[in-house]
């Protein structure tokens, strides 16, 4: 009996404290909620913690490379936690393995929302996997932040007001790659090699918008499905079509297969590869692995690709030195590559958004803040594009080339665009991280 009464008294006291805190917040200096005390303002937010969750391919066919993303985000969160957290709150990050299977994603997302009671979903990876749960997450009014996929399906403000993308969508990327081909490789015959899903077809959409659909004949449009590694016929068809430039919207394994397949045929076009499939570290490993050591990174020489984050090899860049330092201290068991950078940069954006939402945000006020507050500075080469009509993150990329020794060199300015609008040159300067590395 006593314990029951104790519980009630405690609860009443807790309610009283919450009410008091609410009153104080209301009495505070005209809506400025950055000062005051922490309250349990939303599910997943207590006075001392913020809990967020994610579904990731930690095992299975999408795991190589991508399984590094969430531990890297977590490393950045641990870094923030060790330096006082966000407004005194520590971040708890749950990420579960869905094996890139939508059935698992569906059940794990319910676990995160219903049982772990996360404040927000963060960085959930994959187009087919996340499409399975995007309706559900929005019906629960849970912020669905920074989906790890460049599908433009995340930018659907009227149907999915709680969902936000992060990386530039593949159509924008295709357009900017297309512009580079027009400017620097003009007059050459172009062919496409793309993954037959939203990733590839969205990219081709952007390329066609820039180059003109009629300029690339059907024979020069070859696609693959990720479950079939025999891509010899497609590469042979590209060679037969006489394409001198091949734009490849492929995941790393298939970029490597395409390069090896072409080399075997004595076919040496200029490869223009989407950011998704062009990480030098990953590709070099794959090339060595697939060719049993016969071929290495030298095959990457002359490749053209693009980036929306600083290059991992650019040690003079302050963002790279910040994230590399955190990598060495917190997740040194992972290779320092673009996936690690991706995870940390995403985590940085989350902390920025959390700070922008004030001391005691609700789920709705957080989303509102992300739409209306300009997030100043960030690891991206282009600024964030978040607004009440746009839920895409970075809107631009910069072209870079890869030399035979793996050196990466940026070329030209950062360009920004939207799915239907023109390409424009980004005139702002690159931002630098704050001294302590926390927004």
């Amino acid at each position: 009996m006593k314990s029951v009464m104790g519980g009630n008294a405690l609860r009443i006291r807790a309610i009283a404290i919450v009410c008091l805190a609410g009153l104080l917040a209301a009495c505070g200096t005209s809506g400025d909620n950055s000062s005051g005390t922490n309250t349990a303002s939303a599910p997943g937010i207590t006075a001392t913690t913020i809990t967020i969750g994610s579904t990731q391919p930690l095992t299975g066919r999408a795991a190589p490379g991508y399984s590094e993303i969430s531990p890297s985000s977590n490393a950045y969160f641990n870094y923030v936690n060790d330096h006082g957290g966000i407004n005194g709150r520590k971040i708890t990050y749950y990420y579960y393995d869905d094996g890139y299977n939508p059935t698992n994603t569906a059940s794990l997302t319910r676990k995160l929302i219903l049982e772990d009671k996360v404040f927000a979903m963060f960085s959930a990876l994959g187009t087919p996997t996340h499409l399975a749960v995007v309706d559900y997450i929005n019906s629960q009014k849970v912020p669905d932040l920074f989906v790890s996929s460049g599908c433009n399906c995340w930018n659907d403000v009227s149907n999915h007001p709680y969902t936000f993308g992060w990386q530039p969508d593949y159509t924008i990327e295709g357009k900017i790659l297309g512009q580079y081909i027009q400017k620097s490789l003009g007059g050459k015959k172009v062919g496409y090699f793309y993954q037959n899903d939203e990733f590839g077809t969205d990219g081709v959409k952007g390329l066609d918008a820039q180059l003109g659909a009629s300029s690339v004949p059907d024979a020069s449009r070859q696609n693959y499905v990720p479950t079939n590694t025999n891509i010899g016929p497609q590469i042979a068809a590209l060679k037969a079509s006489g394409a001198e430039v091949v734009v490849s919207f492929s995941i790393p394994a298939f970029t490597a297969l395409a390069l090896l397949g072409a080399a075997k045929l004595g076919y040496h076009p200029i490869w223009v590869v989407s950011n998704v499939g062009s990480d030098v570290t990953t590709l070099t490993g794959l090339l060595k692995n697939f060719s049993k050591g016969a071929v290495g990174g030298a095959l990457l020489g002359g490749m053209v690709t693009d980036a929306y984050l600083p290059l991992t090899g650019d040690s003079a860049n302050p963002w790279i030195s910040l994230f590399k330092g955190i990598h060495d201290k917190y997740v040194s068991n992972l290779p320092w590559d673009a996936n690690v950078l991706y995870g940390m940069a995403q985590a940085y954006t989350f902390v920025q958004a959390m700070k922008a939402a004030g001391r005691n945000p609700t789920r709705a006020s957080f989303v509102k803040a992300l739409e209306t507050t300009k997030l100043n500075g960030g690891p991206g080469l282009a600024p964030y594009g978040y607004s009440s009509s746009n839920h895409l993150g970075f809107l631009g990329v910069q072209i870079y080339t890869i030399a035979a020794d793996g050196t990466q060199t940026t070329t030209g300015p950062v360009y920004t665009s939207s799915d239907s609008g023109p390409i424009s040159q980004y005139s702002g300067s690159a931002s630098t991280p704050p001294a302590n590395g926390i927004p």
Binding site: T127, A132, S139, N196
Partner: protein, 364 residues
């Protein structure tokens, strides 16, 4: 004829009544249980019910009729795609219509495969059904006819919202749980009756010895086709429910792993028994949840922690097979048989004090 009819009635009626009574009891328990637990537990119990439907169908085919199918995941895909195509573009169909359509479409396809399967034996049958598992949910098919099947990202399925009379705050997870429970109970009652009647005896006769069954006047091929069709229809029903449960039907959800999971469920649960299908489904749903929780509590390097849940799961399966080679239901039966032998009451006519390990216990 009349005499036969009345004898049939005598045989069937009390059994049917008993099954019905059991089903009613199960319905009441599940209804009460689902109202007491949280939405997430409801959601997991729904998965148990869905897998139980598919596993029961597979158990009928493999455990009772002796046809090993590695293709039931593909049959579930057919059911799921049928449901998703019906519900595409925000078409509104009552749940019951969607489920019946899935049962029908999968059943019809099951006839075709049943005929093929009836000609094959042992590893050849396994090989043929394996082809089914690999070929049907092929991403190539889904991407080739992308405008119909939605390609790699599949078709999204709108949830079935609870009726208004349950109130606005009624959790959709619980509503889906009720639908799945109802489907599972109806399936179990129908299958139990089928197995208690002449078809059930024919299934077992064919499994045990085809030549003897044929000599006894059983049409072996027709019996095998019937078993395949019933089994496929169950898989189709489960697939349609899975479409509601997942919210999307995509090729990645119907890999060979799903077919193997169903086999795991019936082997762990107990081959040839409907109750075994339920035990197996409970293992299938709750053990991975348990192991992933265990792995995340240990602070291990990610390369180990990521794969640990699967390793623990595999370990549990190995130990389970060592301890209970006849599955959970087999183990329960042994305990019961032991109890009977120990404390009298030997309905099977067994000798008191002697445990009959091969007790020909009822299959339901």
């Amino acid at each position: 004829m009349v005499a036969v009819q009345s004898r049939l009635d005598r045989l069937v009626r009390p059994t049917f009544g008993r099954h019905l009574l059991f089903a009613l009891g199960a319905a009441v328990v599940l209804l009460l249980l689902s109202s007491q637990i949280g939405a997430y537990d409801d959601y997991n119990l729904t998965a148990v019910a869905i897998f139980a439907v598919a596993a029961a169908g597979l158990n009928l085919l493999t455990g009772l009729n002796g046809q090993l199918s590695l293709g039931h995941g593909a049959l579930m895909a057919i059911g799921a795609y049928t449901a998703s195509l019906l519900l595409k573009d925000h078409h509104q169909f009552p749940v019951i219509v969607v489920l019946l359509a899935a049962v029908l479409s999968t059943g019809v396809i099951g006839i075709g495969f049943g005929y093929a399967a009836a000609r094959l034996r042992g590893p050849y049958l396994a090989g043929a059904t394996l082809t089914l598992a690999v070929a049907i949910p092929l991403p190539q098919v889904a991407t080739r006819y992308k405008s119909i099947f939605g390609g790699e990202s599949g078709l999204t399925v709108a949830p079935s919202s609870p009726p208004d009379w349950l109130g606005a705050d009624f959790p959709p997870e619980r509503w889906l749980a009720w639908i799945a429970f109802a489907a599972a109970i109806v399936t179990m009652v129908l299958l139990a009756n089928l197995l208690r009647g002449a078809p059930g005896r024919a299934f077992k006769a064919v499994r045990d010895n085809e030549a003897a069954a044929a000599l006894a006047g059983i049409n072996v091929a027709r019996t095998q086709v019937l078993a395949f069709v019933v089994s496929a229809a169950c898989a189709g029903l489960a697939g349609a429910l899975l479409a509601y449960w997942t919210g999307v039907t995509a090729p990645a959800g119907f890999t060979l792993a799903l077919s193997l999971q169903l086999i795991t469920a019936i082997v762990i649960g107990g081959l040839g028994s409907l109750a075994g299908a339920v035990w197996g489904s409970l293992v299938l749903v709750f053990v991975p949840l348990l192991t992933s929780g265990m792995a995340s509590r240990l602070s291990l390097p990610s390369s180990v922690a990521d794969n640990l849940p699967l390793a623990i799961y595999g370990g549990i399966l190995v130990i389970a097979m060592l301890v209970a080679p006849h599955g959970i239901q087999g183990a329960l039966r042994r305990i019961l048989a032991y109890g009977r032998a120990r404390w009298g009451n030997t309905p099977g006519g067994g000798q008191k004090g002697v445990v009959d390990w091969d007790d020909p216990a009822p299959d339901t």
